[in-house]
Symmetry: C2
Subunit: 135 residues, 2 copies
């Protein structure tokens, strides 16, 4: 039997990824990308490369620790690239990769959905909470 | 000036929802729906109504507390309905609302993306981790 390398094994296993299974790596990946900061960072970078400071300013309320952690995780998964330009002080720029751009389509949809249906959801929450206090 | 009711006020405010703003309710909504259990529950219910026990079985590894909490949050936002049938023991069935179905399109995309691109992400992670240990 011929020896298969890791890439071939992965290619063969491709059809078997199933996020419903607790041990499947796609469950962990889904956990990493199902995160409001990931969604907002990808939305921000959808318009083109941005400096760290620009992202931090746009994502009001994000802590430096959380943003750094989010960007590092996105870089590790190959969704963004990080470029350091030796200016004084150094400029750090983030940009979506092609893979990141394909995920951006999904996460932008999620963000747009939240903004578009906010009124209806608020009305539903009001109704639900009113029922809860009925005798 | 005419008195406006809450619905009218919300309708007028609709265009102003912006998840980049920390205080915007759409930021909180995005936080609620950017969650792997929400994504997986909506994926599961995309095929039709399901009993609580069926969802629990399909979503391997979810705790009862987490699943109950997730379903309650989805019900409060008006994304699923909960129907109790007085059998012995009682049957509790969950079903997507129309609003839930519209979100399902997005979350299914996210799950499918994770499963389809798992191989490429694993390769990226390997490469990143190998670079990290370079001198």
């Amino acid at each position: 039997m011929a020896t298969r390398n890791a890439a071939q094994k992965r290619a063969q296993a491709k059809v078997e990824y199933n996020a419903f299974l607790a041990g499947c790596p796609s469950r962990q990946l889904l956990d990493r990308i199902s995160d409001k900061w990931v969604v907002l960072v990808l939305c921000a970078l959808g318009d083109g490369p941005m400096r760290y400071s620009e992202i931090a300013r746009l994502l009001a309320g994000v802590s430096q620790k959380m943003l750094t952690q989010t960007l590092r995780s996105l870089e590790r998964d190959g969704l963004v690239t990080r470029t350091v330009t030796p200016t004084v002080p150094v400029t750090v720029t983030y940009e979506l990769t092609e893979l990141g751009l394909s995920l951006h389509q999904m996460t932008r949809g999620l963000r747009d959905w939240a903004q578009a249906n906010m009124g209806e959801v608020l009305a539903n929450v009001e109704k639900y909470d009113a029922q809860e206090v009925l005798p």
